[in-house]
Amino acid sequence: MAYSRELFREPVSTTNASVADELFRADKLIRHLRDFAPPATGRANVVRQALAHLCPAPTLSVLTESDEFNPIPPLRDILPRARIGHVHPTPAFSALEDFGRSLLEYFFVPLVAEGGKTSAPPLHASPNFYTWRSRVPPDQAQTSSDHRISACAQCMQRDDSRCVITGALNPGVYDKLRRSGATIPVGVMTAKLDAAHIIPHALNGGKDCVIKEENRFVWQVLEMFDPGVRLTLEGDKIDNPRNALMLDCTLRLMFGQLKWWLEEVPI
């Protein structure tokens, strides 16, 4: 572990200012990856993955035991190579830069792209939708869209038809309250709400569980942070209320773009 800490803290030395800037960013990215990864397993996996980049095995045989979504070579394969100095033939930081760049291009960019566009179905589907649904044979009735509408409704019920941040009410519910003559709390606003997925719905392969090629690396990194998370969200499970919260549309978009997050308050 001490070995990896040294590597992460080593200053970047290069005469090319623009390259140095790029390297510094990759270096910072990996350092923060280790610092902010979920504790214990997540952090250990980040260190293992960085070491694996610095000390690559001559063949891919070390990966044969690993799961498809967790292709980090075991420490028993990495450490002996690291100890005897079998580091990457290119300078160490070049290897780290490759690692950082891969993370940026194949993890963060698609994650933000998918997060921003994951759209929940309309809270009040058109009457035509339900007419159409009633004509569908029972064995085909549960479509993916159907499932998401139901998940959205569950999430809305749990969160009281409100944005969890602004407290704004869904306009449909507000109207219902007004028509029923209910006392509406002073200062309550309305806003178009969406059920926002915590882990983007679009990352998943849907019911058939076929994950798009470009999203495989995203899942690999999420697995690196939290082993087993893919199974938790496999197929329709990604639409579970545990993976959703009601948000104002603007906030939903910004949540998907990782512009804000929720920090757990210690008990």
Partner: protein, 112 residues
């Protein structure tokens, strides 16, 4: 301050305001923002001081999984602190510009 008279209406406010030394109940979170958060009315709610959110499992539906909430939180912090958020924003801005350029106008014309 509670609305009554309908079956599916608001009963318990989600937002709880406490002092900054507030120690949370279970499933309590505090919103945090990245430096690149664009200003907006909705975003102002995120930066209000002393804002806490406690999820309650109403209707028997489970609260958001803390394990899942930790993942975007970690990713957002990594992007924000490393400065990589600017790079990602620039990429998406360029992609959006490209998309708009290549989109047909109502009259069928385009910039191509």
């Amino acid at each position: 301050m509670v609305a009554r008279g309908s079956a599916d209406i608001v009963h318990i406010p989600l937002l709880i305001k406490r002092s900054s030394s507030y120690q949370g109940m279970e499933d309590t979170y505090q919103p945090r923002t990245a430096r690149s958060l664009p200003p907006s009315q909705a975003a102002n709610h995120l930066t209000e001081s002393g804002k806490y959110i406690t999820f309650v499992a109403r209707g028997g539906f489970e609260v958001p999984d803390p394990r899942l909430l930790r993942l975007p939180a970690a990713c957002a912090k990594i992007l924000d602190m490393s400065g990589a958020a600017d790079y990602v924003d620039r990429l998406h801005f360029d992609a959006e510009e490209l998309r708009q350029e290549h989109t047909l106008r109502e009259d069928g014309s385009s910039n191509l």
